[in-house]
Assembly symmetry: C2
């Protein structure tokens, strides 16, 4: 399931012309410091849709900057149930946890073909020690992850299936850069299956399907094969903002 519109950057990637410079960890670095990071990084890697960048409980010797593609971060319980914690978009910094030696607490599954830039885990602490602006940037990115997790938690804890789905889709649109008004009938590529949506929101795929049908029949949106079409953004998002007022 590769998106036609997505063209992977040519590898290896030079930091100076990194396609996600302004979004990543490296964002605060000036020209010289960027060169240092350039020598620090191990290289780049491409993975096909459906593969795993790392799995829960892996001991991982690398850290990653997501250059291109979508990745789902998830946990699994003993019972086999799956919770998607977050969707990582280009610019995300992946694999960092407080204890860098500890096994990973979550997995990372590629939703599309993906390319990443690879850092060695070992020397990472000394790198950010030498570049305090990186450490601060890292603190900010982690704080941002916590905020996104809190959004997500609020969505799952407080809202009904219908508004959960609408809020998730809106957040993804906004994180893709569609902040400005979405025009009626606009279509946006969101490379998720209904199962992914359900796993993110604590719903079954069946119920997601039924709920999406309802939204489609009301003329609000259509979600088909990774393609989101928004018919009535005003009504849709105003209702979602006033929360819970998407009633019948």
């Amino acid at each position: 399931m590769v998106e036609s519109s997505r063209k992977p950057p040519s590898l290896p990637v030079n930091c100076q012309e990194c396609p996600v410079r302004g979004l990543t960890l490296c964002q605060p670095l000036s020209g010289d410091a960027l060169d240092i990071v350039q020598t620090f990084k191990w290289g780049d890697r491409v993975l096909p849709a459906g593969s795993q960048l790392f799995m829960p409980a892996d001991t991982c010797s690398e850290l990653f900057n997501l250059l291109d593609g979508w990745i789902a971060l998830y946990r699994v319980l003993n019972g086999g149930q799956n919770q998607i914690l977050d969707f990582a978009l280009p610019g995300s910094f992946l694999g960092y946890q407080p204890d860098l030696q500890a096994p990973m607490l979550h997995g990372a599954e590629c939703l599309t073909d993906v390319s990443v830039c690879v850092f060695p885990r070992r020397q990472f602490i000394s790198l950010i020690q030498k570049h305090p602006s990186l450490a601060i940037r890292l603190a900010d990115m982690n704080a941002h992850r916590a905020i996104i997790a809190h959004d997500h938690l609020t969505n799952v804890g407080l809202r009904t299936a219908r508004t959960r789905i609408v809020h998730l889709l809106r957040e993804l649109c906004s994180r893709m850069g569609h902040h400005q008004k979405i025009s009626s009938g606009q279509t946006i590529e969101i490379p998720l299956s209904q199962r992914h949506i359900g796993d993110a929101l604590g719903l079954t795929n069946v119920h997601v399907s039924q709920t999406l049908s309802g939204l489609r029949e009301k003329g609000l949106l259509r979600f088909k094969k990774g393609r989101l079409e928004i018919f009535d953004p005003d009504r849709l998002f105003k209702a979602a903002d006033q929360d819970e007022l998407l009633a019948v």
Copy 2:
């Protein structure tokens, strides 16, 4: 609702004898650097149970180290619904978000009498720029917050009311330092009302009450007036670990 066993530290607090040194942001600092932080901090503050350290949308000129007491971090939706995002225990660093000038995204309500150590927000960035170990510590604490949020999300997204409650209580016990085996009949102070539990887990207070009754009738635990009594820790936690096997 003040806990009898809790005695607030005498104020003002000297950093060298800080009661939560090893847990806070300041943990990596040596003697000299600690003195610098000592001069940096504005002072200490005591708040009564039920008061708000800050509220959602506040523009806040301070940052806080929680010295003593419990605080609930929460969000509210337009509809007035309340989601508790996390419970802050002594050592938590409160108020940091990526944009330090932006209005707070969540509120902080004191669950007990509380004492905090207060930092000025303005010069905070320059402080951590001068002390990279602080920046790294901050990154770690933020990563840890994200992990806790992911635990919480998984709990709410995947589990049934009964296991949600058990897992929450266990996590709180563990964060209070009761890692080691909990003995049968042991009682632990958890200063929450059933409403708080519900607000954290996306359940109504009514359903929390009914579920706790069920657990009590099964001889597993009792939760009464902020006092958790665990009768059968083995059965309780083994079942909770195998997830969902707390059936009837």
